[in-house]
C-alpha cells in the first residue's frame, strides 16, 4: 500500500535524530498522563527546562505517539518521538488515515483530508492538533 509518491527521498537515520533531552522528557511524562479519555487535561504550565521548542506540548506528542504505536502495533518501548516519520515506522496510507481518525476521536477535533495528507511526522500531527484544539 505505501507508495513512493509521497515518501521523501532522503531521510535522517532515526537513531541519530533522537534528541537525548526529548527522550528524557518522554520517559518522565509517559507515566503521568493517561492515554485514553476524550478531554485534554487543562495544560499544566510546568517549567520544564529541557523543553526548548515552542511547538506542541509534550503531552500532546505523547498521546500522538501512543496512538501511532497502537495503529502500527509497535511495542510499547519502541523509540518513537516527535521527529519520527509515519512512513518510516511502516505506516501506509490506510494507517495514516486511521491514525488521523484516532487523533480526531482522542482530541475531539475534525481534520480536513487535505491537512491529514500533509502530516508526515508525530510532531506535525501534534502541532496540527494544538491549532485545531485552540479554535
Amino acid at each position: 500500500m505505501a507508495s513512493i509518491t509521497r515518501a521523501s527521498v532522503s531521510m535522517p537515520s532515526l537513531s541519530t535524530s533522537v534528541n537525548q533531552s526529548q527522550r528524557r522528557i518522554s520517559v518522565m511524562n509517559s507515566v503521568s498522563f493517561p492515554v485514553s479519555g476524550r478531554s485534554m487535561i487543562p495544560s499544566l504550565r510546568l517549567q520544564r527546562g529541557l523543553q526548548v521548542c515552542c511547538a506542541a506540548k509534550q503531552e500532546t506528542v505523547d498521546k500522538v505517539v501512543a496512538i501511532v504505536k497502537k495503529q502500527l502495533a509497535l511495542p510499547a518501548d519502541a523509540a518513537v518521538t516527535g521527529e519520527s516519520k509515519f512512513a518510516a515506522l511502516g505506516a501506509d496510507s490506510l494507517d495514516t488515515v486511521e491514525i488521523v481518525m484516532g487523533l480526531e476521536e482522542e482530541f475531539d477535533i475534525t481534520v480536513e483530508e487535505e491537512s491529514a495528507q500533509s502530516i508526515t511526522t508525530v510532531q506535525e500531527a501534534a502541532d496540527m492538533i494544538e491549532k485545531l484544539v485552540e479554535k
Binding site: M1, S13, L94, G102
Partner: protein
C-alpha cells in the same frame, strides 16, 4: 555509471551484475548463486496494453542478492531505504526501488539501459516520473508507471501513454477502526450504502479493502496528490444490478461529486486477486473507446519476478484472477 554500448563483442569484465543482455536470453535458473543473470528484455507495451510486474518479498531471501539490488540505487535512494525502521520495511522499500528500475530498464528504450542509470523526478504534485536523458535525436517514450507495495507484495504497472495508478493490499487487512465508522468518515454515501448492504462481516471487510485500493489507484493515476481528490469527493461505482459485490463481469466506474450526472469516462479500472492473497487495483486513463462510448477491455500481461534471477508469466493462470472491471489477460 557507464552506459553500455549497443553492441559489444564480448561481455565487459566488470562488477556489473547486468552484462550485455544481448549475449543471452535465457535466465531462468532457480538456484541463485553469486552471479546475477541478465534482465530479460521485454517489448514495450503497445498502446492498449498494461504490464504488471510483481515481487513477493518473502521469496527474496538471499542477502548477497539484496546487496546487489542496493548497488543499483543512487545514494539518495539507499539512504531512503535505510531510513525505514526494521529489516522487513527496508526490504520492501528496497524491492520497490529495484523493481521500478529493473522493470523500466527491460524496455531498453535507448539501446541498453542500465537500471542504475535511470533518473527519477517528481512532477509538480509529487508523482514520480522517469527523467530521461535528453540527447540529440532521442525521443523519450511516453512510458508511464506506478508502484505500490505492502510488506508482502511489491508491484509495478507500466503502460505506454496512459496515466496509470496501482494499489495493492492484503485481502485480510483489517482496519483498527470499525469499517462503517471509517467509511462514514472518509468515503461517500453511496459507498457506505454499498458496504452497509453486506451482511457478512468478513465479506464486508474484503469489500472495504477492494474499495480502498480502487480509490487509491484512481488518485495515484490522477497524479495530483491526495489532497486534490479527497476520498469523499468521488464515488467508485460498481455496475451490477442485483449483486452486492464485485464479480468478474462488473464494470467499475468513478463518479466525481462535482459532476454527478456525468460518470467520468476518462478512467477505467481493473481489480485483480493475486495469488489468492492480495487485491491489486489498477486505474488507467482511457485511450480510445469502442462504439457508443464503450471501452475496450484492459489488455493485461502479468509477470512475477525476482529481478535478474527469474521471471514468470502468470497472466491467464489462477495466480491472477480478474474480479472486477473488463480485463483480458495475455
Amino acid at each position: 555509471h557507464r552506459r553500455l554500448p549497443a553492441v559489444i563483442p564480448t561481455p565487459p569484465v566488470s562488477a556489473s551484475p547486468f552484462p550485455n543482455p544481448k549475449s543471452q536470453y535465457c535466465c531462468l535458473s532457480r538456484n541463485f548463486s553469486a552471479a546475477l543473470t541478465p534482465l530479460l528484455p521485454v517489448q514495450l507495451p503497445s498502446r492498449m496494453e498494461t504490464h504488471l510486474w510483481y515481487v513477493v518479498p518473502d521469496e527474496v531471501k538471499s542477502a548477497p542478492l539484496l546487496s546487489k539490488y542496493m548497488e543499483l540505487l543512487p545514494q539518495s535512494e539507499r539512504d531512503h531505504v535505510l531510513g525505514f525502521r526494521g529489516d522487513q520495511l527496508q526490504k520492501s522499500a528496497l524491492l520497490a526501488r529495484t523493481l521500478v528500475r529493473t522493470t523500466i530498464a527491460r524496455y531498453q528504450v535507448d539501446g541498453h539501459l542500465d537500471p542504475r542509470s535511470l533518473r527519477f523526478k517528481r512532477n509538480i504534485h509529487g508523482k514520480p516520473e522517469v527523467e530521461w536523458e535528453t540527447k540529440d535525436g532521442f525521443c523519450p517514450p511516453p512510458l508511464q508507471f506506478n508502484i505500490s507495495h505492502t510488506s508482502s507484495l511489491v508491484a509495478c504497472g507500466v503502460t505506454m501513454n496512459s496515466l496509470i495508478g496501482i494499489d495493492v493490499e492484503e485481502k485480510r487487512r483489517r482496519t483498527k477502526n470499525n469499517i462503517l465508522a471509517f467509511a462514514k468518515r472518509y468515503f461517500t454515501a453511496h459507498e457506505v450504502e454499498h458496504l452497509n448492504a453486506i451482511p457478512d462481516s468478513e465479506l464486508q471487510q474484503q469489500e472495504f479493502i477492494k474499495l480502498w485500493t480502487l480509490k487509491e489507484a484512481y488518485v495515484k493515476a490522477l497524479g495530483k496528490g491526495f489532497s486534490s481528490s479527497p476520498f469523499n469527493t468521488f464515488t467508485i461505482r460498481v455496475n451490477t444490478a442485483a449483486q452486492e459485490s464485485f464479480c468478474a463481469s462488473s464494470g467499475i466506474a468513478v463518479e466525481t461529486l462535482d459532476s454527478p450526472q456525468n460518470l467520468t469516462n476518462n478512467w477505467q479500472f481493473a481489480l485483480l486477486e493475486l495469488m489468492g492473497s492480495h487485491y491489486v487495483a489498477i486505474c488507467l486513463e482511457r485511450q480510445e473507446t469502442g462504439g457508443a462510448g464503450k471501452a475496450f477491455p484492459i489488455k493485461l500481461t502479468a509477470r512475477k519476478t525476482i529481478p535478474s534471477v527469474e521471471d514468470e508469466l502468470v497472466s491467464g493462470t489462477n495466480a491472477v484472477v480478474t474480479i472486477g472491471g473488463s480485463v483480458t489477460q495475455f
